[in-house]
């Protein structure tokens, strides 16, 4: 395999792995936080607005890690710096 093929294979496989793993763990933790928030709302319905707001902010924090992984894999697929470097040479 020459260099171009190597870079293409590495980029594609890494992009898939990045989004795959980077979706799995944030999904697990988001499910955990939502289930905890639901049970605490069931115990204390009066505190629902506060819990919901904190839950949204926390979910955004967790989800941003998944979004980082997505952005990295998008860069690897559509705007790969190594690929453009080796193509330009």
């Amino acid at each position: 395999m020459d260099n171009v093929t190597l870079i293409a294979v590495a980029s594609i496989v890494t992009a898939g792995l990045t989004t795959g793993i980077g979706c799995m763990f944030p999904a697990l933790s988001e499910g955990k936080s939502v289930s905890t928030a639901l049970s605490s709302i069931a115990q204390q319905p009066d505190a629902a607005p506060t819990i919901t707001r904190t839950l949204f902010v926390g979910l955004a924090m967790i989800e941003s890690t998944a979004i980082y992984c997505f952005v990295v894999s998008m860069i690897l697929i559509f705007a790969n710096p190594f690929w453009t470097h080796i193509i330009a040479k």
């Binding site: 607005p49 902010v57 955004a60 941003s64 979004i67 980082y68 998008m74 559509f78």
Partner: protein, 240 residues
Amino acid sequence: MKLSPDETIFWQHGFITINLTIVTTWAIMLVLVVGSVLITRKLKTGIHISRGQCILEMMVTFMNNQIKEIGLEKPEQYIGFIGTLFLFIAVANLCIIFPWYEAPTGSLSTTTALAICVFMAVPFFGIVKSGIGGYLKSYLKPTFIMLPFNLISEVSRTLALAVRLFGNIMSGGMIIAILLSITPFIFPIVMNALGLLTGTVQAYIFSILATVYIAAAVHDSKPSDKKLQVQTNNKEYKNG
């Protein structure tokens, strides 16, 4: 495949580029400004108010309550900044129901500009509240060892704000584009409806996070007041 509306260029001269992002941003700004001027031109205090005034009052009351619940006592000071952020992002995200529209928030330059606004607003409100010295002291909390970490967190949360909004909106647009090439009839509509929900939630989260950061800066930079407050609370507790 186009990643962002930045790549649709209308006019270019030197380093000045007029692309789709700038055109859409200015159009949204025009709609927001003209709309609010038209509505607030004839405000009434009676029982029968116009439809637009009712909507505006609902939004302003809602934002004031949200800001107050996070811990900023005088929301009128902050709603100018936070409310503008929320309205702009919400309108920019909700306009995806129009055909051929591309959300300007799906471009990294727009979201970076918004995040830099938050980055500048946090020290601004902190300094307004307690002076330059009082604000700078908040970086030394709880001890001076935390100074580098506080500085890193300032930068990293700005980056996170920008990339979060960009990633969410860009991924929504891209999923719709991919689905259009696979199943062009029903499923893009469903994803578009989901995009409306995501857009609203992202606008809410962006402004809530900006409020949380501002509240943290405002609260951290007034040590004497806080101690006083704790003392009075204790006194009330003992008396009660």
